[in-house]
Symmetry: C2
DNA sequence: CAGTATCCCAAGCGATACTG
DNA sequence: CAGTATCGCTTGGGATACTG
């Protein structure tokens, strides 16, 4: 299949492809770093700020945006003697985002690490082994070669 | 485990966490859309431009950056009668990025689709079934609950 | 067709100061 | 501690014109 044939084979529209939409949420430099911290267990503004070095204003913006998108929710709490505050927790939509973080970390650790190795890993709680993502098809086959994956128009696709 | 304990448990540095580095590559709005097109089989400047609607200059910048990062490579070709041109193809580093695209699309299709459904799917070439990413640990267990995944310092981590 | 060269504008970043 | 308010700066986005 030559390139032009490929291009013609793709004559259905990908307007509104959800990868593009996802990147509008994630596309800002710090967003995924904030999510990483929350997956790591942090919930409070200053913990995140100190650990990541994000400027206050940027952190506040990102958290507000993530709440807005339904990825985080603010949960009020009160420590003895202090006024009410909020912490940030993942919603189901946010929790379902973790495979993206896993694949990102896996790729980054492989190709972008310093010589000493990566500073962060994700491991399985029970056995302590590193986790990684495998691509399967709905019939259960493991997809080893990325050439076995082909794009297809979904129900929301439009002909051009 | 209360939030403060969590925060203390994470007192190792994540400076240079590769998720952050990966986002410096991907963090610009159009980068992942360009990669999606290339995974879809497009290789040529104008095909990508027409299909995605990216401004010329932005597309040129993104392609140059991706070549710079070793994710794409420029391959010269010559059509009969025309002068030499280049097409853009994935390097191994770029090919290994596809699990990230799969998980992004999966998440986006689930949470960001229009009511009609998603415009793009990825399917297994042989059986036509949708592909999706599964998280496994190195011992082979399927990790179903994201609470079974815990962060750990890697060899490149530094105590604060 | 496959890009460069320019230009303008908006948005994001980062620092600092302030508030309850 | 958990943010808001402000501000200057830089970067990226988008449009238009030009080139081999």
């Amino acid at each position: 299949m030559n390139p032009t044939a490929i291009a013609e084979g793709l004559a259905w529209s990908i307007d509104g492809c959800t990868i593009g939409r996802a990147m509008e949420v994630l596309g800002e430099k710090w967003t995924v770093v904030v999510l990483r911290e929350i997956f790591n267990g942090l919930r409070r503004f200053d913990d995140m700020r100190v650990r990541t070095g994000i400027p206050r204003q940027v952190l506040a913006n990102r958290l507000a945006m993530l709440v807005d998108q339904g990825i985080l929710r603010r949960v009020p709490y009160r420590e003895p003697g202090a006024r009410e505050r909020h912490e940030y927790r993942l919603t189901p939509k946010g929790l379902d985002f973790y495979p993206v973080l896993i694949t990102l970390l896996e790729w980054g650790n492989r190709y972008l690490s310093d010589p000493e190795g990566p500073p962060l890993r994700f491991v399985h709680r029970e056995c302590g082994a590193d986790v990684h993502a495998e691509v399967h098809c709905a019939d259960g086959h493991l997809v080893e070669n990325r050439r076995d994956i082909v794009p297809r128009p979904g129900p929301g696709a439009r002909r051009r």
